[in-house]
């Protein structure tokens, strides 16, 4: 007889204790075991995700002294901090910069990672490991530390890059002092740090593409561009989507690079949500408004996640 789907195989129980046997039966039910086994995960999720998120939302509804809800003029009480942010020029500049930073950095990381993965994929297996290890180094170094190294290279007074420029007669660049150069600098550092993650993910995906598909394409006379466009990219579409989504979340929430390189300057033009939230919340002693700033990432990322995951699901259905 097949085992019941909801219970584990019932072992003979002591005949003289009705209550004990019902508890034993409960303990032996698969659903009970499943609940028990998920408790550690639930504790972690509730303690480290749900509670902080809920507390963050609660904080964002308070006034600066945290003695009551923040009053709004055209939004309900409790949403006053969001209302103030909507009316702040600096906040919109931060939102704009966060989007510029995250989108351009993720696109560049994806392109560089894809290119590196392709290069590595075509290196013979023996030498590949060495290159793979070396290319992963930026991703392994703690970003606060490596960013400090970059800061020394960009340093306004003693930039080593500028020194090299001077040697070859190129004009010096205000890496961190001018709006677009500063924005470019933090994007460069983020791409340098994050591209190896894309590389390793794409390399794994490339290795899983069946060789027969390329052989078939070659027989059909496909060019290398057509092989990339019609074989490689469709086969990697899901991993590209998931990697981009993951990186978008991490890049949007980036803090250390901006903090170390520019501290949001010049004129708040390189602030991202996290660095601005820290400035408003911790440095300026307005924790509720800082919480409100950081919560603004949530709807943006939720929309991105919705579309990316919907695409992944649709592709999976098409392949089934």
């Amino acid at each position: 007889m097949a085992a019941d789907a909801s219970t584990a195989p019932i072992m003979p129980s002591a005949p003289n204790s009705g209550r004990a046997s019902s508890l034993q039966r409960l303990a032996r039910r698969r659903s009970t075991i499943a609940v028990l086994m998920t408790i550690p995960l639930l504790v972690v999720l509730i303690g480290l995700v749900a509670y902080p998120a809920g507390y963050g939302i609660y904080l964002s509804t308070l006034n600066r002294r945290m003695t009551g809800f923040m009053e709004g003029e055209w939004l309900p009480n409790g949403l006053g901090n969001f209302e103030i942010l909507f009316e702040s020029e600096t906040f919109w500049a931060v939102a704009w910069q966060s989007c510029i930073f995250a989108i351009s950095a993720v696109i560049l990381k994806a392109l560089v990672g894809f290119w590196l993965a392709h290069m590595l994929h075509h290196i013979p297996a023996k030498g590949q490991r060495k290159w793979r290890g070396m290319l992963l180094v930026p991703w392994v170094i703690p970003p606060a530390l490596s960013t400090l190294g970059w800061w020394w290279m960009f340093d306004p007074a003693y930039s080593s890059i500028n020194w090299l420029f001077q040697v070859v007669g190129i004009p010096q660049v205000p890496w961190l002092g001018e709006k677009w150069w500063a924005r470019l600098s933090i994007i460069i550092v983020n791409v340098w740090y994050g591209a190896p993650f894309f590389m390793i993910m794409y390399l794994a995906a490339l290795k899983s593409v069946p060789e027969q598909l390329y052989e078939a394409a070659a027989i059909d006379g496909a060019t290398s561009w057509q092989r990339l466009r019609y074989v490689t990219l469709p086969m990697m579409a899901n991993i590209i989507s998931i990697t981009v989504l993951f990186s978008l979340i991490v890049t949007f929430a980036n803090y250390d690079i901006v903090r170390v390189l520019t501290n949001g300057g010049p004129r708040d033009l390189t602030h991202v949500f996290a660095s601005y939230a820290f400035q408003v919340g911790i440095l300026s002693g307005n924790i509720p408004r800082g919480a409100a700033v950081s919560l603004f990432m949530f709807p943006i990322l939720a929309i991105c996640a919705f579309f990316v995951l919907r695409g992944v699901t649709r592709r999976n259905k098409e392949q089934m």
Binding site: N63, G80, T90, P156, Y158, P174, N263, D268
Partner: protein, 451 residues
């Protein structure tokens, strides 16, 4: 006769013992006066921590209190994170070092120290006004202005370059004695701007940061103060529109900014130090730490440095001031001991030891303590930091940028560097003065809402 049973006797004995325990004073292990846990700021000057440890041990021995001292660095804002974590969790040290704005941020969680301050002011006279503004936010002292870590930011001048390129003999103007020299009355922002232009042309631009770090916000704040230019009044009203003094200060600051290195907008608090030590700059606004590093790394630079008060403006001379405070959390269980210890730590003898230990870096909050010997003897050149503390003949007052706005709003204005961004919008962003003032007014209204 009533028979006393064994059980009755035991019960009575237990009751007596319990009553004794509950009513007895708190007696700690081995007859000591308890434990006092202190989180002090991790001093830039290594010897600063050594002196503080000695003082803790000394007071602890004399009062039979186990004084435990940790140092908390301000690097990476660690001290702010620690303060906020302890405030949220209501547990932590008994005594904590609080950076400039933190006493007002946490005033509801700090033990009032009016009694300590009353004793100290009776002994040493009034506290400087900037420390009072920060430490007494609602008419009650919530923290004691600390000696360790408190700094002023006067001008550290390369007197050789200043003489050569701007024609100003700064040592004669501000000699190492309690008197003004020739030309001291002309040491104002107009003279300063002309000197900045001359030194810039000669390739030794003044190293004045214009970002949003404290060194930048502080010197611009002092300049604004000396013009009587304030963004917000003490009642929290925005005072930007039709403010002729503010416009004059903004124009002067913008004028000076045009003679600075083109990357000052990105300088952190180390940028000006590096500019001086590298020999590229003729003047910075800083405590003597830059000069102290120069003594070690570039002695030829240090030997030509001389500290003088900041220039004066139409409304007087303001000296940029950045104090630390010692506060007692209201959840502390050793408030009495903490108060006694902090009062002892603020006494003249202990204050002088702290200042000596930091090679003159630490500034006591009482004007009567601006005559410590260390500022006369430190060198080379001897007398270089004589004018570091505010002395009577400077005719200056300490300044904290964004005062007199209510501290709750001033801290936000300060940390967002509104005064430097105002100038940056004009000089770097190409906006007109009116456009930039309009922007700062909108930002101030945003800060005002919600307090």
């Amino acid at each position: 006769m009533t028979e006393i049973k064994r059980r009755t006797l035991l019960r009575s004995g237990a009751g007596v013992a319990a009553a004794g325990v509950l009513s007895a004073p708190m007696v700690h292990a081995q007859g000591t006066g308890g434990t006092l846990r202190c989180g002090f700021w991790d001093h830039w000057v290594p010897n600063g921590n050594v002196v503080m440890r000695e003082l803790c041990a000394e007071w602890g021995r004399a009062n039979r209190v186990d004084v435990q001292m940790d140092t908390v660095t301000s690097n990476g804002n660690q001290i702010l994170l620690t303060i906020n974590a302890q405030a949220q969790s209501r547990t932590g040290y008994d005594i904590m070092s609080f950076p400039t704005w933190e006493p007002s941020n946490h005033q509801r969680m700090l033990e009032p120290v009016d009694d300590v301050m009353r004793n100290l002011t009776q002994k040493y006279g009034a506290v400087n006004p900037a420390a009072e503004y920060l430490g007494k936010p609602a008419g009650t002292w919530v923290a004691i202005p600390a000696v360790a870590g408190t700094q002023l930011k006067p001008a550290c001048v390369r007197f050789d370059l200043m003489q050569q390129h701007a024609g100003i003999d700064i040592r004669a103007m501000w000699p190492a004695k309690n008197e003004r020299g020739p030309g001291a009355d002309q040491w104002n922002w107009e003279t300063f701007a002309k000197a900045a232009e001359a030194c810039h042309k000669a390739g030794f631009s003044f190293g004045l940061p214009m970002g949003s770090f404290t060194d930048a916000v502080d010197w611009v704040g002092a300049l604004f103060g000396s013009y009587g230019a304030f963004l917000m009044d003490e009642k929290g009203a925005v005072t930007v529109r039709n403010n002729a003094k503010l416009r004059a200060a903004v124009e002067m600051c913008a004028r000076i900014s045009r003679f600075l290195p083109n990357d000052v907008w990105a300088w952190d608090d180390g940028g000006n130090n590096r500019a001086l030590i590298s020999g590229r700059s003729a003047l910075i606004f800083n405590p003597p730490s830059a000069w102290a590093v120069a003594k070690r790394d570039a002695p030829q630079v240090a030997a030509n440095c001389w500290t003088v008060p900041m220039p004066a403006g139409p409304e007087g001379r303001y000296s940029a001031y950045l104090p630390f405070f010692w506060g007692i959390w209201n959840f502390s269980r050793s408030k009495g001991a903490a108060k006694a210890f902090l009062e002892w730590l603020s006494d003249r003898a202990q204050a002088e030891r702290q200042t000596n230990g930091s090679n003159g870096y630490d500034i006591p909050p009482f004007t009567s303590m601006s005559d410590f010997k260390v500022w006369e003897t430190e060198g080379p050149p001897v007398g270089s930091v004589y004018n570091y503390p505010v002395r009577a003949h400077h005719n200056a007052r300490t300044s904290i940028a964004m005062a007199p706005a209510p501290a709750a709003m001033a801290v936000q204005m300060y940390n967002q560097g509104l005064n430097t961004k105002l100038i940056a919008r004009i000089v770097q962003g190409g906006e007109s003065v009116d456009q930039a003032l309009g922007w700062v007014e909108r930002e101030l209204n945003t800060i005002r809402r919600g307090g």
